[in-house]
Symmetry: C2
Subunit: 110 residues, 2 copies
DNA sequence: ACATCGTATGTCGCATCGGACATAGCGTCA
DNA sequence: TGACGCTATGTCCGATGCGACATACGATGT
């Protein structure tokens, strides 16, 4: 991910819906951004569902609470690798990850 | 991704099927590895289907041919971010990416 | 034989990511 | 009020991923 893009992202409020186009992002960049948002949201849901604190998840991830917070906050300085690994460790299945990536709005809610 | 794990991966032959367990990987690590393999395979298929050379894809990705080669080779020093962006730029849809992640074997073949 | 094209592999310098730590805000409960 | 748990934010330093370049190798065509 590009630094310039991160800057542009960090700026706007974010989180809301699928807001992505009025910044000039290529379709691919936009897709990537949407995926990230879907994944972070998913992470928070899965973690909560498992009744874990960020601290607890951090422990299992062998990371730190602050990292987990940043992951869930959609901090630009977080790679998909870390994000996805966090999801898995939090208890998400591979297909749950896939569902988030696909952008399908939750039916089962995990 | 951990350096130690990469070392362990780079060692064995790889590529073949789902070989992952005799190295002691946690289930989450194994899932992640499978995802990576599925994604790299997918990338090669999508790129070829679009009749692009690695050089051409690199150009669109604003990267280099050697990087693309490493991505497709499953080089451990490649993040999911780069991998997935490459897939998108190569023309894969978001749901194709999701399918690869889910580990479903191709039906439509894109 | 030679040129060309697609791909693979190694290396280097620089940018960025990640874990750790400190600190602060916010609820809740006693 | 104070203590405690959960989360958010900022900073540091060391690790590593990335683009670029060089180079090699095979296949194909002439």
């Amino acid at each position: 991910m590009n630094a310039a893009m991160r800057r542009r992202l960090g700026a706007a409020g974010w989180r809301v819906g699928t807001v992505a186009e009025f910044l000039h992002l290529t379709p691919e960049e936009e897709a990537l951004v949407d995926m990230r948002i879907a994944l972070t949201d998913s992470l928070r849901r899965v973690r909560r569902k498992g009744r874990m604190s960020q601290t607890e998840l951090a422990r299992r991830l062998k990371s730190s609470q602050s990292r987990v917070a940043k992951i869930e906050a959609g901090d630009p300085g977080v790679t998909l690798d870390l994000l996805i690994q966090a999801l898995l460790v939090a208890g998400a299945s591979r297909s749950q990850v896939a569902r988030a990536i696909a952008g399908k709005r939750r039916r089962d809610a995990a």
